[in-house]
């Protein structure tokens, strides 16, 4: 297949997944024959189910709190309730910390896999052993974006696949360095797989053929390497939260300096 062509499909007939199921065997069974360079994309939902990440929680909010490393922004919803944008255990910034309350048993919620990169690596090992093909594996979740409606799927776990295609320093067609320079390859593959897997259907697994130039020989750096928080993060806090922090600090400083000045005035008056 040329670089200018790709195919993706999501096999039917994947059984409902339960805690303790042998997911690698189920995935091998579902995808059938593979070619080297294929990328197998698996929804984190089924990875979590197989890993027993379904927890009893009448209160979804409690589970979100437990999965949260850092609150980025909160906002009251018009209909009641609060939207929380948080950084979760995996470094991913989004609503609800990846806690999933749909397509699960009533009275339970589903947490993200403990270590999705490790889950992807286990799936990769099983797929290579079963098919003989050098394939990559991506574990996906669905994530909102701050300034655009709707969610897209992203890679939260990866093995055997480059996460990004770093073109920095490469010349464009007229010989100048390219300004758009780091292609988020794994996230783009996750998004395309979403279009064939769907949300409500029982098609949690997709095969993508035609992106083999991004398949690598080792497990690789994993999806965690794509996280950009910390010093590089220009949106560490929501605007309202950052404003409130600044207001509080500014108020304290303003009061203090003004009090110092007033004291000078009072002292001056005593002369």
């Amino acid at each position: 297949m040329s670089e200018a062509e790709l195919r993706a499909w999501a096999p039917d007939g994947v059984p409902e997944i339960h805690a303790g199921d042998d997911l690698p065997a189920i995935v091998v069974d579902a995808v059938g024959a593979l070619e080297s360079g294929d990328v197998v994309v698996v929804s984190s939902k089924v990875v979590s189910k197989a890993e027993g990440r379904q927890v009893v929680a009448e209160d979804r909010e409690q589970a979100i709190t437990a999965e949260t490393v850092r609150v980025v922004a909160t906002r009251e919803q018009p209909g009641g309730g609060v939207t929380r944008i948080v950084e979760n255990r995996l470094g991913i910034v989004g609503a609800a910390a990846g806690v999933d309350a749909s397509n699960v048993e009533p009275g339970t919620v589903l947490l993200l896999p403990e270590d999705p990169d490790a889950s992807a690596a286990r799936l990769r090992t099983a797929l290579i052993a079963a098919t003989g093909a050098a394939v990559g594996v991506i574990v996906t979740d669905t994530l909102g974006r701050p300034w655009r409606r709707g969610q897209t799927d992203i890679a939260i776990g990866a093995a055997g696949i480059a996460l990004v295609d770093d073109l920095r320093g490469q010349p464009d067609t007229s010989g100048r360095p390219m300004s758009v320079a780091v292609v988020a390859v794994a996230d783009e593959i996750a998004s395309l797989a979403d279009l064939v897997k769907g949300k409500a259907e029982n098609r949690p697994i997709a095969v993508v053929r035609g992106v083999g130039r991004y398949v690598i020989d080792a497990d690789g750096p994993g999806a965690r390497s794509v996280v950009r928080t910390g010093d590089e993060d220009m949106f560490r806090l929501g605007s309202a939260e950052a404003y409130a922090d600044g207001y509080s600090d500014g108020y304290a400083e303003g009061s203090k300096e003004s009090a110092d000045t007033a004291e000078d005035e009072i002292d001056g008056g005593a002369w």
Copy 2:
């Protein structure tokens, strides 16, 4: 083609585009025969070139300023220069306001199309007339994300295609409402097309087959409808900018209240 399968390809042999070129004719020629339900994805770069949006600008910064509606965040780069995250004319929040300095003639930069939704509509009309197929059209640009490394392609113009698939209120497989509810379909299609079009190559046009359930009978609401700024925007400003605003307001208020108190004290002393 079933919903669980898709294909995408980017035809070779698209000529270099110049101002005044008949882009619809060039796209029709490049894609060949189409089927109803196909989506044709075109990089905004070639739309801009055909529309003469290449402007002389030794100073890219100047062009960015002109395209900026609102500065969201700025940050000095370690190597010099300033990264500006801005909202551009189209409501899109990103670096450099969509001003492109790669793959263009030296001494010039390329602005985004004046109205990418209108550009998409013109392409759609031409493609339907030429092929007889009911197709959708997406015009793409490449955009960074705040908390993840790398850029993905998004839809900045659209005609004949649903921008999102709103599943809110629909039951999941166990009958509960779905928590992840609005799929950013057009952005996911834009991202997948990026994987076959590439960046430096002369393949700015892709055809996506297998997403026909999102193709609609009219031009539709356009990509502008996906923009989420204004009241809904929890990241209206960068954290540093919002903090600075808050600090300034807090300082003024703290100084004032402290001065009022001091005045009371001075007045009290005069008794």
